[in-house]
Amino acid sequence: MSQMLKFTIFVVSLTYVCAQKSAIVYLFDPTGNSQVTGEVTFTKSSNGLVATGTVTGLAPGKHGFHIHELGNIGAGCTAAGAHFNPHNLTHGAPEDSIRHVGDLGNINVGALGTVVLNLSDTLISLEGEHSIIGRAVVVHEGEDDLGKGNFDDSLTTGHAGGRLACGVIGIL
């Protein structure tokens, strides 16, 4: 019996080491043009991943907030490529069934230029096919129209405009 218990404890502790429970991204503007900075932590919960943290230095209002396919933050965040989209679908809102995995919608920035983030998403993950680790978070200049704006790029980028800040998602 005690042998059995030891074995169980060993397995549990091993899983604990292997399974990633949280990840972090440090957001900044690699070009140094904007003063946007931020820190967002992604933590596993029963409702999927919960993103918490703050982003500062943004203009008040809504800004597109997405996970991009690549972790390369070169060339003013453009090297991060398109939205993380492993199933090759069109752009949408986080609550839509047809969306990119990386579509996290908008963050709503208050009058002082800071947003305290607390959003959850059931599609993004810290492991497997939807794993966001090693990819980039990008904060956009404009509002994400969630694919419903009828602009040329509404169904690809949500017409969210330029990239103000980005960072690579790392294991925490």
Binding site: G71, I133, G134, G167, I169, G170, I171
Partner: protein, 200 residues
């Protein structure tokens, strides 16, 4: 020695440019094959040489050369961004077979001498080199601490260029963690630089 295919973007305007480029990497030991495509400005070289060595050879033709990446294999990159501001570098990581990975990097701005390169457990750069945690130590049978890659040497000009074959580290286990280079000499322990491994 395992070979890897590296793709370069080389400015080429005519067939004679293609010949010049081919000539610059002809009869070089370690190069298995060279494919040049004039239309896309692409040069793919299959070799066991470091990215920097190949880039230098291509640049000897007087053309602008940029590294586009590793062709046809799973790869990751770490751009060293956090830590000591005077140090700059890029490290590439290619899993060539399930048991062999190539770690290929060029790092500038170092003090001449030995430097430790390692993989640290966390990918948290919020406090630069101070928040990346300890050297990554997963369960492994190799007898070495997993993330303890090797020692590399910086030349007098401050550059360390290396291409290592590693049988311990796996691509899937480094993504999202950080790469750290630190000075190994006693009097200069503070010189450190780090960056995150990401998909490319």
């Amino acid at each position: 020695m395992s070979t890897t295919k590296i793709e370069f973007a080389v400015q080429m305007t005519c067939e004679s440019c293609v010949d010049a480029v081919k000539k610059s990497v002809e009869n070089v030991e370690g190069i298995k094959s060279v494919d040049v495509d004039l239309k896309t400005d692409s040069v793919v070289i299959d070799s066991n040489l470091s990215t920097l060595d190949l880039q230098k050879k291509l640049e000897s033709t007087g053309r602008k050369v940029a590294v586009k990446g590793y062709a046809g294999s799973s790869a990751a990159v770490s751009i060293l961004e956090a830590g000591d501001r005077s140090i700059q570098g890029v490290v590439r990581f290619v899993q060539v077979t399930p048991n062999v990975c190539i770690i290929d990097g060029t790092i500038d701005g170092l003090k001449a001498g030995p430097h430790q390169i390692s993989i640290h457990e966390c990918g948290d750069l919020s406090e630069g080199c101070n928040s990346v945690g300890n050297i990554y130590n997963s369960n492994n049978k190799s007898g070495r601490m997993y993330g303890n890659i090797d020692t590399v040497f910086a030349e007098k000009n401050g550059r360390a260029a290396f291409r290592l074959e590693d049988n311990v580290i796996k691509l899937s286990e480094v993504i999202g963690r950080s790469f750290v280079i630190s000075d190994k000499t006693e009097n200069n322990k503070n010189e450190k630089k780090t960056g995150l491994w990401y998909y490319c």
